[in-house]
């Protein structure tokens, strides 16, 4: 399978990438390419221009900044997985990065790519949602920040505009318990359902593959934060959520899985 034809430009800086995006209706950024190239090979995406930002070392870092850790968008899953800073201050993110795909995929895929792709079935978007992370977005008119809660808009759709580049992810440090439960039937598959729990003062719970974007399990969160038992909170996991049916699972089975996994994740995060 080949992608459609496209022009390829290797950007020498973020500013150059932004100016190329601004001059085009449908140019796309590429870094590791492990979300975009599969779509292009299936002809589900056919951008006229690919702007390669994969070598911009200015966006490849993991920095301790006091109350949070700042992660450059081009940091690879492998580097998240092995980062001493993350293992110490945001261990769930390091763990979740190690759950993405397989080792070869993790050698290429980047956190910025995964989040900008915005797949509700992917691990990292749900993790940054549970972590209440902040996305830093740069464009010709400057920089803005978007909380994870407002970043994921629809199926493979995020808050990013055409001339914008996701440059950094700011992740609050986690002092309490956490857990990530990914249920799949074969090694390296996407989660049929996944659950991330972060207890940082209050408890946040996010769901993988329960909708077109990563979702918060708001009813479970409210219940546990108001003193309900884990069992009671878990039973509310899919309240107000309309999960998809597909070859892997019916909507009903997904609802069942969500409750079971929220229960297990809350138990682990509370242990």
């Amino acid at each position: 399978m080949f992608p459609s034809t496209f022009d390829y430009v290797r950007a020498g800086s973020v500013a150059e990438a932004i100016s190329i995006l601004d001059g085009s209706d449908d140019a796309k950024l590429i870094a590791g390419g492990h979300s975009l190239l599969p779509l292009m090979k299936l002809r589900l995406a056919a951008p006229s221009t690919l702007v390669d930002i994969g070598r911009l070392s200015e966006l490849n870092y993991i920095e301790d900044r006091g109350d949070h850790v700042a992660i450059g968008a081009l940091t690879r899953h492998r580097d998240l997985e092995t980062s001493a800073v993350l293992k110490h201050s945001v261990p769930i993110l390091s763990h979740v990065a190690g759950e993405v795909g397989d080792p070869a995929v993790r050698h290429r895929g980047t956190i910025g790519g995964s989040i900008a792709h915005g797949d509700g079935a992917s691990d990292l978007p749900a993790a940054v949602l549970a972590l209440d992370a902040t996305m830093v977005v740069r464009s010709a008119s400057g920089e803005r920040t978007v909380p994870a809660a407002n970043f994921f808009k629809g199926f493979l759709e995020t808050d990013l505009g055409q001339g914008e580049v996701l440059t950094e992810i700011r992740v609050p440090k986690v002092s309490g318990g956490w857990a990530y439960k990914k249920f799949n039937r074969r090694a390296q598959d996407w989660a049929i359902v996944g659950v991330a729990v972060v207890r940082n003062g209050s408890t946040r719970i996010s769901l993988v593959n329960m909708g077109s974007t990563p979702l918060r399990a708001s009813a479970s969160e409210n219940a546990i934060n108001q003193g309900a038992s884990i069992e009671e909170a878990a039973n509310l996991a899919s309240e107000g959520i309309d999960p998809p049916s597909d070859l892997n699972a019916s909507a009903e089975y997904r609802r069942h899985l969500a409750s079971v996994l929220v229960r297990r994740a809350l138990q682990e995060a509370s242990a």
Binding site: M1, F2, P3, S4, T5, F6, D7, Y8, R10, I30, G33, H34, L37, P38, K41, L50, D52, G54, R78, G101, D102, P103, A104, V105, H107, R108, A187, Q188
Partner: protein, 155 residues
């Protein structure tokens, strides 16, 4: 577009379309057909090569992205004199293959894995190879081979 990279220690330069995938560059432009195309969707790992020493699925990387990088394929693993890499020897000695189609990818994934984890447990080997599928289901001897290679390389 002109791309230049090091493949198995030799500088290779070709004029390719930007949409050329690294695996097709290696097979069709450079003539190294040891790297196989299996699923073509970054699932099966038959196309695994090393980019700058790390395992990568070459069906999911553009040749232009590999410009200036160092690529190693299964053909580049043995010494120039033809002595097999310890991983290749271990696969031979432990019958780590049946039909052989997944083998180049398995060997490349396994050598990259041992660099990151030189003394793995059996469970770690299985997890380390989760991105490589063997349609013959010959995993048992593949895992045995990787453990044997880890032992011989650690000596």
């Amino acid at each position: 577009m002109q791309v230049t990279m090091t493949v198995n220690g030799q500088t290779v330069s070709r004029d390719v379309e930007p949409r050329t995938l690294l695996v097709h560059f290696l097979r069709d432009h450079v003539g190294l057909t040891g790297t196989n195309v299996g699923c073509d969707t970054s699932s099966c790992g038959a196309c695994t090569v090393h980019v700058n020493g790390e395992s990568v699925k070459s069906c999911t990387m553009l040749a232009v992205q590999a410009d200036g990088q160092e690529i190693t394929t299964i053909e580049g693993l043995a010494s120039p004199e033809g002595e097999l890499h310890p991983m290749q020897k271990a696969f031979q000695e432990n019958h780590g293959l049946q039909c052989g189609f997944c083998t180049p990818g398995m060997v490349m994934a396994a050598t990259s894995f041992l660099k990151e984890n030189p003394h793995p447990t059996e469970a770690e080997v299985r997890l380390g190879l989760e991105g490589n599928l063997c349609r013959c289901t010959g995993y048992h001897n593949i895992v045995k081979s990787v453990l044997a290679a880890a032992e011989s390389m650690g000596e």
